[in-house]
Amino acid sequence: MESLAMGGYGAYVWSSFGLMFIVVIISAVQARNRHHRALLDVTRRIKAMEAKK
């Protein structure tokens, strides 16, 4: 427990590490969502073009 308290600086240390990891996770999720949306969009566009032919 003592090592988790970081000599009284626990709030500063843990919030910094927490923030970094949250941002990494958010950017990974964003990248994944963006790709999925792009796949759907492009598929829809190609299907619409096919239908026109």
Partner: protein, 247 residues
């Protein structure tokens, strides 16, 4: 070797090759970060001046380093795209911007959290290191806003590339700000060899780990850019709708 790069720059080849690299970089990055973070939090000795608050360095420095590395990648790719009209280069520049903005935000926020107990303030207006890093965040925002404001992709590429190149002036300013002016921010620590090895090693491991993870995220985003830009290409059609006879 050159053949390999040339092939990699072809969009369908890049699209097929990228997932392997993304997975590999992601796994290596996460493993290094787990190791570096554990060592930084629990194995590295307590700093005699800053006590345990110094451990913020293990996320603050990687974030700050990546914020500038992302900008350099963005500006250099934008330049390559402008000069040699290479489409993949513009994709890389566009993909680097949001990641760079995120890491700039983390560098500023963790720096602020670190500043509170050490300097007695969250923020100091007019401090050269803090202000130039904040300026970079705004340049990232400007770049992203400019891209999304222009519908024509090749026009967006060109205008945003000019912005990225002009904003690159800020990079050496950020880097040397603590040397050129008096700043609250501590001077160069890592490059100047001022850290004890048992404190430095976890930091280097984390820098390397976050760099690998950044590489994975960047490739992921570039892959999406490539897909969107190539949406009319035959390889995309035959990949997404093989039954439509695109091939």
């Amino acid at each position: 070797m050159w053949k390999f790069f040339h092939k990699l720059a072809s969009p369908p080849h890049f699209y097929r090759m990228a997932p392997g690299f993304i997975l590999g970089f992601g796994i290596v990055g996460c493993a290094l970060i787990l190791w570096g973070t554990y060592a930084g939090l629990f194995l590295a000795p307590t700093d005699y001046q800053q006590k345990d608050a110094f451990r913020i360095i293990y996320v603050h420095v990687p974030a700050a380093y990546l914020s500038m590395m992302a900008y350099s990648i963005m500006a250099i790719s934008a330049g390559i795209g402008l000069i040699w009209r290479m489409k993949l280069a513009h994709s890389v520049a566009a993909a680097a911007a949001p990641l760079g903005a995120w890491f700039t935000f983390v560098a500023l926020a963790t720096g602020s959290i670190w500043g509170r107990p050490m300097w007695g303030t969250w923020w100091e207006w007019g401090d050269p290191r803090l202000t130039s890093e904040l300026l970079m965040l705004f340049i990232y925002f400007g770049y992203i806003a400019l891209r999304s404001a222009i519908d024509d992709v090749s026009k967006a590429d060109k205008s945003s590339a000019v912005l990225a190149l002009v904003g690159a002036v800020n990079i050496p300013i950020i880097h040397y700000s603590v040397t050129w002016w008096t700043s609250l921010h501590q001077g160069q620590t890592v490059a100047a060899g001022k850290m004890a090895p048992d404190m430095l090693t976890p930091l280097l491991i984390n820098i390397l780990g976050f760099t690998f993870l950044f590489g994975a995220l960047l490739l992921y985003r570039v892959r999406t850019e490539v897909l969107l830009r190539e949406s009319r290409a035959r390889w995309v059609k035959s990949m997404l709708l093989p039954e439509a006879g695109g091939a």
